[in-house]
Amino acid sequence: MEPAAGVRLDNNHKLSLREFPYIVRWRDDRCKRCGRCTAVCPVKAIEATVKVQRTVTSSGAVPTPTAVRTVTQVVEQVTDMERYCVGCGSCTLVCPNEAIEPEFNPQNKLLHYKNKGGDAYKRGGRRNDPALSTLDRLKFTRISMLTDPALDAGRHEFRVRSLLGRVLPPEELPLVMENGRLAVDKSSGKFIPPVREIFPIMIGSMSIGALSPPMWEGLAMGVAYLNEVENIPVVMCSGEGGMSPRLLRSKYLKYFIIQIASGYFGWDEIVRAIPHMVEDPAAIEIKYGQGAKPGDGGLLMAQKVLKLIAKIRGVPQFVDLASPPTHQTKYSIEEAVAKMIQSMSMAWGFRVPVYPKISGTKTAKAVLNNLARNPYAAGLCIDGEDGGTGAAYNVSMDKMGHPIASNLRECYLDLVKQGKQNELPLIAAGGIGKKGNLAANAAALIMLGASAVAIGKYIMQTAADCFGDEYNRCNLCNTGKCPRGITTQDPKLYRRLDSDKVAERVVEVFKSADVELRKIFAPMGRSTEIPIGMSDGLSIDDKAIAERLGISYAC
């Protein structure tokens, strides 16, 4: 039989709202039809429309029903999967009468339909997995009690600092005795790698381009303030996409890690600025992979490549900027990594630590061992599966990658086996602060062996109120339509964000994290050095995880 065509009274060709990840709850009785919600919706998931209503009324002693047809204005959710409600809640924010709110629909079938035209689902954000991560399940159980006095987080002196850079083993230090004191033997010609003392939580790589100008600027200002005023040496990575030419030539460059990734975006400008730099950058990060989308390169969608971005990156406007998954000119780990580290070190006269960043993977140990043998490698950043991104295929984000906890731990233990755990700092990233426990997650990773941790999504959420979460909320970073103005290049959107306020929040976040870290370290009796690898302080209520991480089981 021929399928029905033309007017379909059964509406069988349409999706029901139950298929959608968020269902908009709109209240007729509260709505004053101002239209703000429909105007603000970044995806046009709701629209103002009219409905014919038939109202039956009766008045008088005897029932005399009268039917009246009226035309009413309503706000309606569209059932087009291309305009699905992302649940951002911008409509709720602008509604003067609390008449509208999106509600998560756990039975949604977004992934069944979000591939129209054969275009696989792309989005920004992070892995859509709201479950408690291993990091959030770790507890700090070794508390100094009656056997010894605990430290006082409020009164005692604490040094919450870590090292970024290759550290020479003590046996190789070029020291000589001079009048009963040790001195550095300058005549030895021994290369002493550069090392930076940093706060153990850093802001991970998020590019200018992925982030809006006020967002990046706010982060940068916050970081500079933390260093200059608060004496908290937080460093921040540029991400791939260069940096502002003025910042490159400023004294604040020392607080920034410049990233070089496979697209080399922004590096024309950086190379041109090198002779004019008054300070060395904190470090150079070579991006080989990213936890959110392992095996994928960077991706900046055309709609975000506006004039400023095009200028900084040295590309035409409105073209997709896809960095390849690998550095194309390299073919092997021995050659690729060593050459790049060498080249980048040379560019700054071997005064700047250069380290690679990879996505969490079972093969991380192979990379690590290669780096352990390379005296110029300044560390290794491992980005776990819970890391975020501005744009990626959903499948990469949701299904690819390795959790950070066990990946970091096995790398650390591998270094321990070689006695090199203090030589090559490990930086852990991906999912830190997923549930808001920034300091606790950072401390747990440090105790599993990380020298420092890097955060991205967390700082976007806390410093700029990013809507994103693990229920696929918002996650519009790739479209350039970020309703908060964080990941957009559209001035109409990013003017919603005040860079000063972002900077203020960055400072607040790090100051409170500093306090919380002390509150964790103090009862465990650590204050002078952060407890890298102090795994006896950790426990978990899962025997299998405890065994995998080499920590104790507590219940």
Partner: protein
């Protein structure tokens, strides 16, 4: 016996769970055996045979044996055989340099430990010239009487005595302070909160003696050994290793360049806990050092030729009551008290000034 009586006066500061004694610069019957290594330990009847066989095979020749005159005590379970035996080196090793001899002695001690650890048939605490170690579980005073130290002629110029076995780990003879390795010895007051990272770091140095770790305090001895013997740093850098200064403080040191590098490279050995360490080095220098916040007590008092380094003043009063008390030294967080060999001179080295 004197140090044990002093220990007794400090009873409130320890739990009396055991007694460990390391004697250096021996007198009495060992006075004439100074160049011969002395193996100290405990063994069972079976263990004694194992030990004898092993030492014979290794070429060590027994020169002299001292055994304590055991006086049974309630609360102290006697083991079969307590001993301190002076051996002559195997003929093939007699002319080796001291460093090589030290390695031989340590490896022999470790081999004996491995041989008897499982069934507790052999405990080997130290094997080094002019050093004796005694350890047993129980109340220190009772253990001392049990060993007959109140009656014996055994004497030494340097005595390290500790009355607590272990804070957070199992009571076990190998967990009993003082700890000894190749002429370096130390004992500690307090808990070492950074034990695991330090243990992992030391274990990764590829040095066979860095093992055991039945006590969180054993690492203090090994850090001392690593700093002074392995790295060749002067003794006072031990303080810089275990309690590194802040960056700004290092900048003011005359040896800032070296200290800065050391701080980075030896970051894993920062002790960070509430600790006071007392120890000696092979040349007979004794020292006392505090954690970076001075969370534990410590006092040095005495006069030229006789000094006491103790946790508490009452102990020093008991040991050297006739001293000038006003000259007692209470080392603070930046200080390291160094008593030269034969207790001739006491020096307070300040870490800030280097």
């Amino acid at each position: 016996m004197e140090p044990i009586l002093a220990l007794e006066t400090m009873k409130e500061g320890h739990d009396g769970s055991g007694l460990g004694l390391t004697l250096k610069d021996l007198g009495g019957e060992f006075a004439k055996l100074k160049k011969y290594p002395v193996l100290s330990g405990i063994c069972s009847r079976d263990g004694k045979k194992l030990l004898d066989d092993y030492m014979k095979r290794a070429g060590f020749r027994l020169k002299h044996e001292w055994t304590p005159k055991i006086a049974p005590k309630k609360g102290v379970v006697a083991r079969d055989h307590y001993f301190a035996r002076a051996y002559d080196y195997p003929a093939s090793c007699a002319n080796l340099p001291m460093k090589a001899k030290e390695d031989l002695l340590m490896n022999t001690r470790l081999a004996l430990r491995c041989l008897g650890e499982k069934d507790e048939s052999i405990f080997a605490f130290s094997f080094y010239p002019d050093v004796i170690t005694l350890k047993e579980v129980g109340d220190p005073l009772e253990v001392a009487e049990f060993f007959g130290l109140d009656r014996d002629r055994i004497s030494a110029k340097i005595v390290l005595a500790q009355g607590r076995q272990n804070t957070n780990y199992a009571i076990y003879l190998y967990a009993c302070h003082p700890f000894f390795i190749q002429g370096f010895c130390s004992m500690t007051n307090g808990e070492n909160t950074a034990f695991v990272p330090i243990r992992e770091y030391l274990s990764g140095r590829g040095f066979p003696g860095y093992m055991g770790y039945n006590s969180d305090s054993e690492v203090f001895t090994h850090i001392l050994h690593y700093t002074v013997r392995q790295l060749g740093y002067p003794l006072h850098y031990y303080k810089d290793v275990i309690t590194p200064l802040k960056a700004a403080e290092i900048d003011r040191r005359p040896d800032a360049g070296a200290v800065r590098l050391m701080k980075q490279s030896l970051r894993s050995l920062c002790i960070d806990g509430p600790n006071m360490v007392i120890g000696f080095t092979p040349d007979g220098t004794c020292f006392m050092v505090q954690d970076s916040k001075k969370l534990r007590p410590g006092v040095v008092g005495g006069a030229k030729g006789k000094y006491a380094l103790m946790s508490e003043e009452c102990g020093v009063d008991r040991a050297i009551p006739e001293r000038e008390r006003a000259k007692d030294i209470f080392p603070m967080k930046y200080d390291m008290v160094i008593v030269s060999p034969d207790a001739q001179e006491v020096r307070v080295w300040n870490q800030q000034q280097g």
